[in-house]
Amino acid sequence: MAILVIAEHDNANVQASTLNTVTAAAELSGHGAGDIVLLVAGSECAAAAEAAAKVAGVSKVLVADDAAQENALAENLASLVVGLAGDYSHILAPASTFGKNFLPRVAALLDVQQISEISAVVDGETFVRPIYAGNAMATVKSADPTKVITVRTTTFDPAPAEGGSGAVEPVDAGDDGGQSRFVERAESGGDRPELTTARVIISGGRGMGSGESFDLIEPIADKLGAAMGASRAAVDAGYVPNDWQVGQTGKVVAPELYVAIGISGAIQHLAGMKDSKVIVAINKDEEAPIFQVADYGLVADLFQALPELDAELAKILS
């Protein structure tokens, strides 16, 4: 039987998280599961469906184009997916707030125990997933007939966005159950790269002391083309928006370079960034636990170090 991947998209393009999830699906195909089918549920989402059809390895794209699917409301999306589920051995979505919101509903309606946030595929029914904020890795085997899975995007490379030639097929989007209604979205946005896909991330913690001092990070982030992140303490203190939070209960990231400024390195923060390729920590406390995972550590006052770092980068990058 085929594999159904629920695409995360903005009606025009498919999100990178979808490409990582397709790679996890491709690994399942390698273990004997069938073709990969993408579901694009949205409103006026023909462009996203076309983009989905080009993703390498995708055999078919189902498009549910209807106002009822416009805002990925969990009730409507779950009932759509449950209606399609009979044809599939595996149903996958990225472990983003998009996937985490609706997929457990699908699992419950199918009477299946979902496998959350897999970080590796062992075979068609066996998966590795982090538990306890990534301080342990559990290998679990599912006895359910359909496997319902969210995928930790940082541990699967993105599938090539070009090269596929899937057939696009419309499907009935289902009714608007009307139990919940979209009101508004406040995106903190900006023109920086997205945290989850950035090659470089610079994060600030409570040590920054205020929202204004994140201005010291900005020119450095500009020079490195970096996304900006934060610890929970910095978000809770109101220095920066919630979607900057990296960690067990925020975003999980794995960039080439992660720079932690004024962050102590609590396990809940490490859970979100310790798979980064190179980690740099700048902290005035030489005992800070962040230094235990840092490839390069600098004991310094950040208010002095950040302007210096900006100046040094200006030298080598000019």
């Binding site: 306890y132 559990a138 009101v183 903190s188 809770d236 919630n242 209960t249």
Partner: protein
């Protein structure tokens, strides 16, 4: 209205967990246990609703071993009214917990169930959504603000791109994120008072629910450890390392 708040007993978030030598799980003997931090936030929110006069009764439920009653007592000391302990010595998966909660909802008819967005032991992030599906109710997940209205509620959700506000019909399921509120500590008099509040004990079988696990844990291992790095003594040295050794800038 009546509110139901499920609270899970987990290893305290400050404990550095250890994987058992035989790779069957995580060491729990002689380890400090606490209420799942998200569930403290749920309890706090329910109490604030009661203080505001919109909620009459707060029922807390915990499922698992005998000591879950301590977790229930903590919630009662914070200000919840009564407890239900679903006693089981087996590990209960989110689907089983959701089914047991549905059976309790069918009996108690709350108009609102507030859960944590995730338990910090299994990191599943499933139970609330599953319960909503089994009941056929609306849901608001990862919530940092709740405004109860007449027949509906407006909730603000923390999503990857920022904040999203939706309106959900009552009865509903809410799962809470960290920034909803700051939970209170129980005062000594309230801890004493909580000792007299009732806790009902039931077994999964009494509720007619099969809790047999669907996932078999084959092994639990330590994650790969990072090699210790080096300390540099200046910003210039750091930049040099990043450029010429790590080659990431």
């Amino acid at each position: 209205m009546k509110v139901l708040v499920p609270v899970k007993r987990v290893i305290d978030y400050n404990v550095k967990i250890r994987v058992k030598a035989d790779n069957t799980g995580v060491e729990t003997a002689n380890v400090k246990m606490s209420m799942n931090p998200f569930d403290e936030i749920s309890v706090e929110e329910a109490i604030r609703m009661k203080e505001a006069g919109t909620v009459e009764e707060i029922i807390v439920v915990s499922m698992g071993v005998q000591q879950c009653q301590e977790t229930i007592r903590t919630a009662l000391a914070m200000g919840a009214d009564r407890g239900i302990h679903v006693k089981s010595d087996e590990d209960l998966e989110p689907l089983a917990v959701a089914k047991l909660l549905k059976a309790i909802v069918d009996k108690e008819s709350p108009e609102l169930v507030i859960l944590g967005k995730q338990a910090i032991d299994d990191d599943s992030n499933q139970t609330g959504q599953m319960l909503a599906a089994l009941l056929g109710w609306s849901q608001g997940t990862f919530v940092s603000k709740i405004e109860l209205g007449d027949g509906s509620a407006k909730v603000t959700r923390e999503v990857d791109s920022g904040l999203e506000t939706i309106e959900v019909d009552l009865p509903t399921i809410v799962t809470v994120d960290l920034r909803l509120n700051e939970p209170r500590y129980a005062s000594l008099p309230n801890i004493m008072k909580a000792k007299k509040k009732p806790i009902d004990e039931v077994a999964p079988a009494d509720l007619g629910i099969d809790t047999a696990p669907r996932l078999q844990t084959l092994k639990v291992e330590e994650p790969p450890v990072r090699q210790a790095g080096v300390m540099v003594d200046s910003v210039a040295a750091l930049v040099d390392k990043l450029k010429n050794e790590a080659r990431v800038i």
